[in-house]
Assembly symmetry: C2
Homo-oligomer: 203 residues x 2
Amino acid sequence: MLLYQDPRAPNPRRVRMFLAEKGVAYDTIEVLIANAAHQTPEFRTKNPLALLPVIEFPDGRVLRESMAICRYIEELHPEPNLFGAEPWERAQIEMWSRHAELELLYPIAQVFRNTHKFWEGRIKQAPEFGQLMREVLAERFDWLERELAARRFFAGDRFTVADITAVCALDFGKVCNIRVHAETHPHLAAWHQRVSERPSAKA
Amino acid sequence: MLLYQDPRAPNPRRVRMFLAEKGVAYDTIEVLIANAAHQTPEFRTKNPLALLPVIEFPDGRVLRESMAICRYIEELHPEPNLFGAEPWERAQIEMWSRHAELELLYPIAQVFRNTHKFWEGRIKQAPEFGQLMREVLAERFDWLERELAARRFFAGDRFTVADITAVCALDFGKVCNIRVHAETHPHLAAWHQRVSERPSAKA
């Protein structure tokens, strides 16, 4: 199993962390966005959208999209369970995975794309939208602070794929100076610390 | 089962269309975004994010997020299968569901939010970002035209939840004059026609 990835990008890290939690071995090929390696005709044969990560199986099958990859790995390697053990738990984890993605990862990625100098000259930027996303994130941090006062992890009292997405989002936010502060958001910061201490967080 | 929804919004339609395909009966409560009914303290007890749809079960349990709702309904009502019958098919459907969401629905929603006069005075808009999303969509239409030359539906040769997301996205695009033209994108237009003819498309 071969993971096409960039060590600095948040979506490949979601898959690496998921694989680390599962204890599954894999090989990697670096496709560095900084070098526009994801834009080459060769990589586009793996993903015409020029997005990372992509996973390739020994028989040549290719799968794109972080969550499609993680779900498929969960089917191949069911333990430890990260997507839920019964229907209602699966529903809660899916809800919180989507919250982590749509309310954290997506806005943070848009701040990065639209305001960071890394992208200057590489893509068209809309800095005003990046600023709007910063404002959304401030509201989301307040909301998550209230949510995490009542439980240890995003989707309940155990670590799941929703926590993987959320921690990869928040850690990536640092590049744009988006950080959780323990003084103002103690429960969110404690959750972040709890998740960051897992060995998989180094993946 | 009670669906909180707005008849004109694309995400509630995804759930209505999914329920129609399943043949599942449900009640609805209209929460009209035009009246800011999604922003009331009462509705925020159902969804603190003030987003639609939300589904409520007779025992009081509440579930947010379209795809979490659809997945849970698939567990309760497995037939007709819309998320995949075996692991690799499930992986393909998840990949295409996410493509439909991230490459169509999300950019279309951002064009609407950031450029449409409906939102003037309701939210802060970043028109420049809306314009960037229009350019992305033009590229995505070309990509989907190539993809759909080779198969009948988004994720393969049968109708799945990925098609529901994609058709709800494209139909919603009309409000911003985003349309598929058969002259330039015949395969995408034929797919759109094929999906629109299903009885569930009226849901």
